[in-house]
Assembly symmetry: C2
DNA sequence: TCCCGAAGTTCGATTTAAATG
DNA sequence: GCATTTAAATCGAACTTCGGG
């Protein structure tokens, strides 16, 4: 039982500290904030005030403080789907960077619902966040919704895609380079009959990854078999990527296509591919290699562990937070800041799902 | 480029709305808050005020508001490890419930660092959260740290374990029933030589799950082979559970133990088990069945998909948020509230990693 | 007394200007 | 003028009280 039967506990205010220490509220404020004027206060005074504050367990009221400082010390962190394993390392990166600063994150998860995102954005504005980090792992976002941000001068950074906006920074992986690295690796292993699963048409990642694949193929003088190039359907649910990868490969198998490797759009679809292959008794990597993209948690937990193109997600989150913090500081000092576009370098992570091609794949 | 070159934009205040509409700030306040006195105001007055507010894009200053209302409308959500797939469905549940209320979540991730947790807790208190939800998926938490909460009358709910505290509510799964269901299922399938991987000794979940296993075995008249009962090492890292499961099974295999099924402590260790088995060419489920606990995302993504005992994580999060909201309301109305302990019912999810026992397992 | 509206106080801090010795 | 301290104004909204019709 915890109750409220006793009289409401009046919180300790600065006035209480003043009374306890025998000084005025002004002096207390100056002391506890180490304001410029604190230089003139004798050490004796300051220690007495500090002791009184500690003795009473004084906690400055953040609302009174924010009211005059006009600062919330709040940064909004908006995610489109927390349950997507792609998001959490980014959140971790954001946390690590924010921890060093004085900002606290206000968190929202719109689970792929644009309406919810919009409402949460309004709430963020209402709460006077000083900066905003949006982890747009999946959804298709209308820039207009973000126009308010410009007016209110709220520095914003988007993680995992480039909006091409003039006032919103972004941190994204170099999709083209990543895809190129992935396909190149399969080619090195001797694979020639390769299934390429492209992403949903609406996703901004889809295009550059496909370009990377094409350029790697061209560099090796290989023409990809159009029958082996398939597309994931549009959908906002990461799980659908798994189902899509599974279904596409099942269909190819049904059609009697022969291939020795699959380059999936992302890890989720790669996992789906492995499921489909297992269903037909095709072994990975002995009979067919599989490579993913992202390096989400499950990629290293499944068996065989997935070879993939890794996005430095934690670093991306940390970078985004760093940009926002710097821009907020700029705004406070009445300076202008530039919207930047950070392209992060992906890294090929070789695990167990890839192997040299053998003659006569499935 | 987004800049601050133009003169600082003074935010719109109630006074501006008053001037614009031709009424006093008082009337504006009464109107916009639908205060009791609004009954007496002519509709004409109210619409004019509302129009003026909308025209100016007026957003009430939350700090001024909180200062007088003494309410932050903030709920703290503290997680011990966001990257743990176990956490995110819980967060989703919390979000769904909080969305209906007027509370915004302040979020922290202490990534298994008690010191960080403590500092974040202080920050929560500084920020005047009205309630607290702690997702203690893993770490061993000292109740003393939470003593402040009692003093400050901040309703708190712990998700995923019972602290046995008199003032902190908790929402946890019925571990004993879950483990019983899991082992019973293996027994039904005809398994008798079963490896049981117990959790780390320090985890509160370990004990009840082991009890559940024992009671199921007893009910079936089976004596578990002590040589097949092994323990995960203590560690705060979820990944270590995977490594632990893998290593333990490898050791058993090395020792030449024979078994036809493995009941893992959780999904992570089950995934590790599958890795170990695959390494020795043992097929799941043909040669050996594997069952996990939790039903985290990767459980259904890996191949074969993992049979497991499911915790209703989203529901648990939603329940916790509901409790906190109700308790906050009670505190506001000067009523007492009880710390409750909610035991959620787990559910056996049968997938591909289990099959009937065959004579002469590995 | 009922209706409508506004002046003034309060919340808890910061900050400026000024008052002490 | 200098070191030390403080009264008073301010931030923006909510609420209590009060005045005229």
């Amino acid at each position: 039982m915890a109750s409220g039967s006793q009289q409401t506990v009046r919180p300790i205010t600065m006035r209480d500290v003043a009374r306890e220490s025998g000084f005025s509220p002004t002096t207390v404020s100056i002391t506890l904030n180490d304001a410029p004027l604190a230089r003139y206060l004798p050490a004796e005074t300051k220690t007495r005030i500090r002791q009184a504050a500690k003795k009473l367990g004084y906690r400055p009221n953040p609302f009174a403080r924010s009211l005059v400082s006009r600062r919330s010390e709040l940064v909004g962190v908006m995610v489109f789907d927390v349950t997507d394993p792609y998001c959490t390392p980014i959140l971790r990166g954001i946390e690590k960077t924010l921890y060093e600063s004085s900002y606290m994150p206000i968190f929202t998860d719109s689970h792929n619902d644009p309406a919810r995102f919009e409402r949460y954005l309004e709430m963020m504005l209402d709460r006077r966040v000083e900066g905003l980090i949006i982890v747009a792992n999946w959804l298709f976002l209308d820039i207009d919704i973000l126009a308010d941000l410009r007016k209110q001068e709220i520095p914003t950074t988007l993680v995992s895609r480039d909006l091409g906006s003039s006032f919103i920074s972004s941190v994204a992986v170099d999709n083209e380079a990543g895809a190129r690295a992935g396909l190149s690796y399969l080619l090195e292993l001797g694979h020639r009959e390769i299934v390429v699963i492209r992403g949903p048409a609406l996703l901004t990642d889809t295009e550059p990854r496909w370009k990377g694949v094409q350029s790697a193929a061209a560099a090796a003088g290989l023409t990809l078999d159009p029958a082996l190039v398939v597309d994931l359907p549009d959908s906002a649910d990461p799980r659908s990527s798994f189902d899509g990868g599974c279904a596409l490969v099942e269909r190819l198998l049904q059609e009697g296509r022969r291939f020795t490797a699959v380059m999936a759009f992302d890890d989720m679809s790669a996992l789906g591919v492995m499921r489909a292959l297992a269903g037909k008794g095709i072994r990975v990597p002995e009979d067919c290699s599989v490579i993913g993209f992202d390096d989400i948690g499950p990629a290293s937990l499944c068996t065989p562990a997935l070879t993939t193109v890794r996005q430095p997600m934690e670093l991306m989150g940390a970078t985004a937070a760093g940009i926002v913090i710097a821009d907020v500081a700029a705004v406070r000092e009445r300076q202008s800041y530039q919207a930047v576009v950070q392209k992060m370098t992906p890294e090929l992570v070789v695990r167990q799902s890839t192997a040299p091609a053998r003659k006569g794949g499935t």
